[in-house]
Amino acid sequence: MTLPVVLFALIAVVTAGSALGVVFSRSVVRAAVWLLFSLIGVSLLYFLLGAEFLGAAQLIIYVGGTLVLVVFGVMLTSQGPFAGPRTRPAEWLAGGLLAGALFALIVSASLDLGRPAPPTDQPLPGVGPLGLTFLGVPEQPGEARGLAFLLPFEIVSVHLLVVLVAAAYLARAKKKVAQPPTPGATR
């Protein structure tokens, strides 16, 4: 039992348990808090794997941004702590069967993947090489890499801009449709 194994076991238990909490909690707010712990666990996993930039980005974007968005959504649409429709047992059964089958399929595939070639262990490239890759600069000078990831980078940037404009457009405050006044209604 070396330190990475112990750390991985701890983080995996926290992450998987919180994911179960997301699935099985009936209150949406509690599900959001479980999701918070699960996302923090995933970012710790990135740190454990040596991808510091990704871990930090996960903390900032997911935990700081996306989760706050989700909590705002809960706040704006919630009708009560445990209000809302219950899930029927048949739906749990069908969903559980589907999820279990997919889990078994992926685990068997990944066991096959890990077995034949023992994985090599190299430290991951840091932020510098990562940024240069995005900008299309080759790792070694003279290496023919073309523009590498410059095009996906640009596509994602423009996509983010378009999506945020669209989100602001969709969620804008609209004028209420004038309803015909019901007779005898008092204010």
Binding site: F8, A12, T15, A16, A19, V22, V23, V28, A31, L35, S38, L39, Y46, L49, G50, A51, F53, L54, A57, Q58, I61, Y62, G65, T66, V70, F72, G73, L76, T77, G84, P85, R86, T87, G95, G96, L98, A99, L102, F103, I106, S110, L113, G114, P119, T120, D121, Q122, L124, P125, P129, L130, F134, P152, V156, L160, V163, L164, A166, A167, L170
Partner: protein, 104 residues
Amino acid sequence: MTDLGLTPFLTLSAFLFACGILCFAAKRNAIGILMGVELVLNAANINFVACARFVPSLRLEGQVFAVLVIVLAAAEAAVALAIFLNFYNNHATVDVDEGTELKG
């Protein structure tokens, strides 16, 4: 890290993926389903980063794709929440079974 290997990470990611799928299937609240999407995307991201660490030919690519997935997930969450808010304005609920106007 060599004694850990690729398989534990892939297994954990498969578990998160299954939890996300169960969220899709079982939750009636649209925001709960969005949380399931987040879980699935995180599972994919764990795979990318673990492969970046343990597969030599993917050292940069895994991380690059993980960054792209994080950005796209943030964009997806923003649009999905905007759609849900619109849905809530029109139906006064976020129960996904209520969205049946297009049913034939």
